[in-house]
């Protein structure tokens, strides 16, 4: 990587730019069919999970009631209270409303909310009414899988965001300043890496009240070591190269050297390990929710749904199959994208983090 990028830099200078590194990576990535499929799947998942309230809801997308038109499901898209809220609808029972033949409405494709229980319909196998079947409380599995995607995707992004921040900060400080700072931080990384990370996460999470935010934070503060090691190595390597010396020679400050010269140069491998990190974080969240230490019921999460499925393993295969597929597809997509990014930015990089 170094040689290619260095020639880019020295040839291009500041004025007349040859395609930047990001552009080169993107062009190569576009030729990688696997990676582009991964990227497409991830984008679709994000869109679908964001649109979950309009895709699976017991409220209609649009309806006419007492002479006015309402969009109750669309309103659920906005988490903020002041946008598109209809206080007059809050106590409305849609199932009663639907008894009236003159009631006009457009329903969502999956007309069930992830929380709506119906004990008459419990443990139904997949059918045309319930595409992916129902669980023990008669909740629609399809609706819960769609809404559960939100948790997994959020946890992946936020947890890795936290890990990236900590890892980059500590790694760059260690690599750039060296000396005693480097020794201390490197020891800390080594100590953290000795703990199988699931041990640490379990120890911390079990003492905290279970919530999605705690999970994100705990995954973040236990998984920064790989990124910190990368960052440290990159800083050590780059700071010795000519352009960094040149920048210092013309009097650039530490901060300017770090942010303008070193960080952009070390971004590629860090992006790669962040992508693998997201896949790992999604797996960890699912595992924690599976163990009952993660997202609490009734909030739908893929791991939590698998945990429920375990009790009905003998009668209801669909309870275990679909949430698991969700985890698998998401994790594979991120891993494939990470792989593609790695090949596109540098074919000779190290391996992804183990689970």
């Amino acid at each position: 990587m170094s040689s290619r990028r260095d020639t880019n830099r020295s040839d291009a200078g500041e004025r007349e730019k040859s395609p930047g590194f990001a552009v080169v990576v993107w062009r190569r990535l576009r030729r990688d069919r696997f990676a582009m499929t991964g990227l497409f799947v991830i984008t679709t998942l994000f869109v679908v999970s964001y649109l979950a309230p309009v895709l699976a809801n017991n409220k209609p997308i649009a309806m006419r009631w007492q002479g006015r038109t309402y969009f109750p499901a669309v309103a659920d898209l906005f988490p903020l209270r002041y946008i598109m809220r209809y206080p007059e609808l809050r106590t409305l029972d849609y199932s009663v409303l639907r008894q009236d033949p003159s009631f006009q409405q457009i329903r969502t494709p999956v007309p069930y909310s992830p929380y709506e229980t119906s004990l008459d319909d419990k443990l139904q196998p997949p059918s045309s009414r319930h595409w992916l079947g129902t669980d023990t409380l008669g909740r629609d599995v399809c609706s819960r899988v769609l809404h559960g995607a939100r948790i997994s995707l959020q946890v992946g992004l936020v947890a890795v965001g936290i890990a990236l921040t900590i890892g980059l900060l500590l790694g760059s400080i260690a690599g750039y300043y060296g000396g005693i700072t480097d020794i201390l931080i490197s020891r800390l990384i080594e100590v953290m890496m000795c703990f199988p990370f699931f041990f640490l996460i379990l120890a911390v999470i079990a003492f905290l009240p279970p919530s999605i935010f705690n999970i994100m934070i705990v995954i973040g503060i236990t998984r920064w070591t790989g990124i910190a090691r990368y960052a440290r190595g990159e800083f050590l390597r780059i700071k010795k190269q000519d352009f960094a010396h040149a920048a210092r020679a013309i009097g650039a400050s530490d901060r300017k050297i770090i942010f303008r010269h070193i960080l952009p140069n070390s971004l590629a491998p860090i992006l790669v390990s962040a992508t693998f990190g997201i896949a790992g974080a999604i797996l960890v969240e699912a595992a924690l929710s599976f163990l009952g230490l993660g997202v609490q019921p009734p909030t739908p999460s893929w791991g939590g749904m698998l945990s429920d499925a375990r009790e009905f393993i003998e009668v209801a295969w669909w309870l275990a199959l679909f949430p698991g597929l969700g985890i698998f597809v998401t994790v594979t997509a991120y891993n494939v994208l990470g792989e593609g990014l790695r090949d596109a930015s540098d074919p000779r990089q190290a391996l992804p983090d183990t689970r």
Partner: protein, 325 residues
């Protein structure tokens, strides 16, 4: 080499100290203490302040955290991990009785991983771009992304319930002790099949891909071209020259695989009711049994530390080109 070994050993000391610090403080700084927990569980919060203080003193929780750390450290030096808050048995004996189950599961899994991953990775690299390489690579890739707890559930559903051919609870059947030796052995083996498969496939995929990558790198080296140029046939090139050099980076991987296996065995032991250390740890965490959690975390971290050290030392002694002098 000697200097390097000595230096690595000297580095062990601060790392060990760091491990004790992390273990102790993460658990001690977490909100909620075991007395509160026991109180909430059993005594419905009706407990006098005096009795509460008495219990804190009994568990040594009345002292400030740094003092508790020093006390814990002193006892640790004599391998005394204290007594479990749950049943007041020494932590070390609880761990000892659970260790064999975990060791056999992880040991068999590690052996299977190595036995399958190395030939597989080697073969797909030698037949680079062949159909075997492509299909095998894709399958392994997908295996790597499969969450083991999901696979465990699906396999239990298929082989344990639907087909009813494999047991999936514990290490042996209830009446196993009355069986003849042969059928007792068979019973144990059958109980191991599902947990082992679930624990193995992930690291198998990981290691195969790694071996494939490192083989591809070796094949491109000059000395392989030389071997080919002097007329050696393919099979002796692969077995004599490529294979040995492929193994070098694999050695370092063992240090990474061990923590991954241990992490995986927590959740699998929970699912399969496997009476091992992972299940013990999970139960201890749930019931806030501090001494057991701390003891197990410490022992595991030390194990990982030592295996990384052994892997690194092996690496330097196997490959004369590497030196950290």
């Amino acid at each position: 080499m000697l200097t390097y070994t000595l230096r690595r050993l000297a580095y062990l000391v601060p790392t060990l100290l760091g491990i004790t610090l992390v273990t102790f403080f993460i658990i001690s700084l977490a909100p909620g203490n075991p007395v509160d927990f026991i109180r909430g569980e059993t005594m419905s919060a009706r407990i006098s302040p005096e009795a509460y203080d008495e219990m804190l003193r009994l568990y040594g929780l009345d002292k400030p955290i740094p003092v508790r750390y020093v006390i814990w450290l002193k006892r640790l030096a004599t391998l005394d991990f204290g007594k479990s808050f749950l049943d007041h048995r020494p932590v070390i004996s609880k761990i000892k009785e659970r260790l064999p189950a975990t060791l056999i599961l992880n040991g068999v899994s590690l052996l299977l991983t190595i036995a399958f991953a190395i030939p597989f990775g080697l073969f797909s690299a030698v037949r680079h771009h062949s159909r075997f390489d492509k299909i095998g690579g894709t399958v392994l890739y997908m295996l790597y992304s499969l969450p083991e707890f999901w696979v465990a559930i699906m396999l239990i559903m298929l082989f344990g319930v639907k087909l009813d051919i494999l047991p999936f609870i514990g290490m042996e059947s209830l009446d196993a002790r009355q069986l003849s030796f042969g059928s007792y052995f068979l019973d144990r083996v059958l109980h191991m099949v599902l947990p082992t498969v679930c624990l193995t496939y992930g690291s198998l995929a990981f290691l195969s891909r790694f071996v494939r990558g490192s083989t591809l790198e070796v094949i491109r080296q000059d000395y392989i071209r030389t071997a080919r140029a002097k007329g050696l046939d393919d099979s002796s090139i692969v077995y004599k020259h490529v294979f040995k050099n492929t193994l070098i980076p694999v050695v370092t991987l063992l240090g990474i695989l061990l923590p991954a296996l241990i992490s995986g065995s927590i959740i699998l032991e929970y699912i399969f009711s496997w009476p091992g250390v992972g299940a013990l740890y999970f139960d201890a965490v749930l019931s806030r049994d501090y001494p057991t959690v701390m003891g197990l975390s410490f022992i595991t971290a030390v194990l990982v530390l030592l295996s990384t050290l052994v892997a690194d030392l092996l690496y330097t002694s196997v490959d004369p080109r590497v030196s950290y002098e």
